[in-house]
Amino acid sequence: MPSAPVMPADAADSPVKRKRAASMFKSPRPFEAFIQSVLFFCGAVSILTTVGIVITLGNESINFFTTLGLVDGQRRTAAPMTAEDTRIVLTGGGFNFQVNDTLFVEGTVNGQPANELMLVTEVIDRENLVVQRGYENTQAVPHDVGVQVEKGKRVLLSEFLKVGEFDPTTGQFMPGRWQPQIAEFSAIPLISATLYSSLLAMLIAVPVGLGTAIYLSEYAAPGVRATLKPILEVLAGVPTVVFGYFALNFITPALRGSPFGIPMGGGFPLLDTGLFVTYNGLLLIAALAFVAFWVGSRTTTGSRRTLLTRGSTIAALLAIVFGVLALPDAMCTPGEVGVYNLFGASIVVGILIIPTISTISEDALRAVPRSLREASYGLGATRLETVFRVLIPAALSGILAAVLLGISRAVGETMVMALASGAGPNLSVCPFEAAETIAGHIARISSGDLSYQSMDYNSLFALGLTLFIMTLILNLLSNYITSRFREVYQ
């Protein structure tokens, strides 16, 4: 066994030796432990935030779906009643109640307020209702003079997600509506506008974002890249409220025909019935040209074939452009582009998502190992073929993650929608009308002074929860794909 060591420096006592602990055994380091717990707390705050979001949204949503709200304006006055009366005699004008309506009846007993719920079991006529007294564990009490009868309403999940219904009398489809003033709470118009605008936004953001990423990672010389990258960074740094201003003051006027306040010949003519024919005609011609050129290019050889191939590509692109332009014609009734419209706002959301998609996709493309590129070039592939056959498939998961993140941003984008897309939920396939998204609606409603007890207030949280769930799924998917993708290259 080793003998007691006499180390070289032990001979002379030194400041270092004096400061060093006498033994190698653990002694408590309270400061280290304290710091570690403080740091852990910092990390845990993020968990608390999530818990906070879930509890906040969940709790108020539960309130929204369980408490009985009173519907503004749906009220009448009634004649006094005893505790036993099962008939209400309504007086004055106002709302007409229906069978199965829950009534909230204000009353006083011995000068103390005593309210009661009743269920309408039969409607005799405008003035006379038969009710079940003491509904939902309230107590049947006598009601004296000046009795107020209000309609109570509880929103069910089935109503919240109701797409619409067929009117039994006319057989017409009545779409679900979100109109808190008259207690209609179908979130479908808001959800559909949210998804619709995200789709439109992605139609811009995905091709442009991907094209940008491919150009920057595969084509651009270092100098060009160094000037183009900052442009994207600036674009990413512009506050969304500024984009809202842009949507309202440039894009929409441009759609309506007067960008910068300078009229440019009569407005954006998409909704003009005259041009319906024009666009669709051009679409048809382009499509026919494409087919002709394509067939031609398959059957000819020589330099004419190159020409025909090029012609078919151009015709296909034109067909796509005219197809896109003709689309609104098919979906909208003729009229003007609205001052507030979903289309303009969605274009701008698309623009503001470009940096998100291009940055992440570019990272994914650059992460593809050099060897793969070299192998492809070595086999004689052109740059374009390398991009489409090797790089994009190899970076697909990264690109997919970028797109999902982009959709999630589009779904949650608030300011552009709040400013440019218009107020009032609207279930419509025509994007040139005003329509409100979930986020836009929350912003608009909460900018007023809301009472914390109102149904409106609670409804915001139910909508917020819907939005949260939508983005959460997208984010989780995106993160999952990203983490899988990381494993592949490490």
């Binding site: 442009v208 306040g261 052109t382 939005l467 983005t471």
Partner: protein, 453 residues
């Protein structure tokens, strides 16, 4: 043999030409994507310029040219004083009250001057009230205590009283001068056509007002500064702490993986959701703290600067953490190894080696996150930033408005003058962001130089 090969060769050549042509076409399309991004940025800038400058039709109660033979802004204080006495002698007491009074209006005329005013009063007037002063004395109070610029404002507001009755945007102003003049002649014959920049030093330094032509941005700018200050105090230590924890301390346990995933997901939660969170937690649940009641402030609203700062802090926390993690991860492992090898504890290594090396990266990431907070609007709408307040915020428990919120409010209003003001505010906001980002770059360069040399 060569005869059999040559058609094949030709076909290959031909295909090659085709493939290259297709390649060129697509490469142009890819380039066009970039051009599109550039184009939108240019259009964005032009739209803002379009709103921030342009002709306005101004109607004066008194034409400034009749007041003096030189432009008003070039007059000295004494000359402006003369203009004041000549044209608005009767308003001088009101002017004094508006500028210097420190007592309620109803007792202003009956209070002795030293108590009524917050300015120096000569000993001879110590017992007098405002009503006992003559014109000359009143004027001396005004000229002695106001600068030339303030005097000019006083003359403008009390005598000239300009009023913007119409406004046109920049490009329209440039190209359609004739149309504007025709409109002027028919609609506002008494008004004067002036080319106006809506961003001026005055716009930045004066408080919010209800009139588009008079309003400034100071109230909102101060609000932004206050909110950001709270946000920094809250989110910087928390964010950097969390990043240190995750990079240096956390092992691969379930809870730590949960924290990581969670942060990545929080970064993608829409900002308006944070607004709902802030509304419930800070504005309502913690109202005794956020209203300042706990330190004795007489207020019962949680819709304060503190709530806003905390909400924005939570909002940018994930971004700060992710950026800081990246900066910390970029510190070479060999530095840590060297430190541990010398018998440093974990915290000593982190504090003395890792953090100093990561600091430039952390700060850069932090400032970028902060720029996001500065431009953020949606959660503050939900929290209940006031749409109009005319008083400057005085502390964390004040009600507030911030610049982006004002841009939102002004853009919402259909009046074109408010669009002008919104554009001006956007220019101020973007300049602020530009300054911050330049600061980030300078900071980073300075730090990296220090580390290298």
């Amino acid at each position: 043999m060569s005869a059999a090969e040559s058609p094949k060769k030709d076909a290959f050549k031909e295909r090659l030409v085709q493939r290259q042509a297709r390649g060129r076409l697509w490469s142009r399309l890819f380039f066009a994507s970039n051009a599109f991004a550039l184009l939108t940025l240019i259009l964005l800038a032009l739209t803002i310029i379009n709103g921030a400058f342009g002709y306005v039709a101004v109607q004066f109660r008194v034409d400034p040219d009749t007041l003096s033979d030189r432009p008003l802004e070039t007059l000295s204080e004494a000359e402006l004083g003369d203009v004041l006495v000549a044209n608005a002698a009767g308003r001088m007491r009101v002017i004094i009250r508006d500028n210097f009074s420190q007592v309620p209006n109803d007792v202003f005329t009956t209070t002795p001057l030293p108590a009524a005013l917050n300015v120096f009063i000569p000993t001879a007037w110590q017992t007098l009230t405002i009503n006992e002063l003559n014109e000359e004395q009143l004027l001396s109070i005004i000229t002695n205590n106001l600068s030339q610029e303030q005097m000019y404002d006083v003359v403008l507001n009390n005598i000239v009283q300009p009023n913007v009755v119409a406004s046109w945007q920049f490009f329209y102003s440039l190209f359609n001068r004739a149309a504007i003049e025709a409109e002027m002649a028919s609609e506002y014959p008494a008004a004067e056509l002036i080319f106006r920049s809506w961003v001026t030093p005055r716009f930045i330094s004066s408080p919010l007002a209800t009139e588009a032509a008079d309003t400034g941005l100071r109230t909102a700018l101060l609000g932004t500064l206050w909110v950001i200050a709270i946000c920094v105090l809250f989110s910087f230590p928390l964010g950097v702490g969390a990043a240190i924890y995750l990079e240096e301390y956390a092992d691969d346990s379930f809870i730590n993986r949960l924290i990581e995933t969670n942060i990545r997901n929080l970064a993608g939660v829409p900002s308006i959701i944070y607004g709902l969170l802030g509304l419930t937690v800070f504005v309502r649940f913690l109202v005794t703290i956020t209203s300042g009641q706990f330190v004795g402030v007489q207020s019962d609203t949680g819709r304060t600067i503190l709530s806003a700062g905390l909400t924005l802090g939570l909002l940018i926390l994930p971004v700060i953490i992710i950026n800081a993690q990246e900066a910390i991860r970029a510190v070479p492992y060999s530095i840590r190894e060297a430190s541990y090898g010398l018998g440093a504890t974990k915290w000593q290594t982190t504090w003395r080696q890792v953090l100093p090396a990561a600091l430039p990266g952390i700060l850069t990431g932090f400032i970028l996150a902060l720029s996001r907070a500065i431009g953020e609007t949606a959660p503050l709408i939900v929290i209940g930033g006031a749409s109009f307040i005319s008083f400057d915020p005085s502390g964390p428990f004040s009600r507030f408005t911030v610049v982006p919120l004002q841009i939102y409010n002004w853009t919402k209003v259909p009046d074109i003058e408010f669009r002008n003001v919104a554009a001006a505010a956007i220019i101020v906001l973007m300049s602020l962001l530009l300054i911050m980002n330049s600061a980030a770059i300078i900071l980073r360069n300075r730090f990296s130089k220090k580390l290298a040399g």
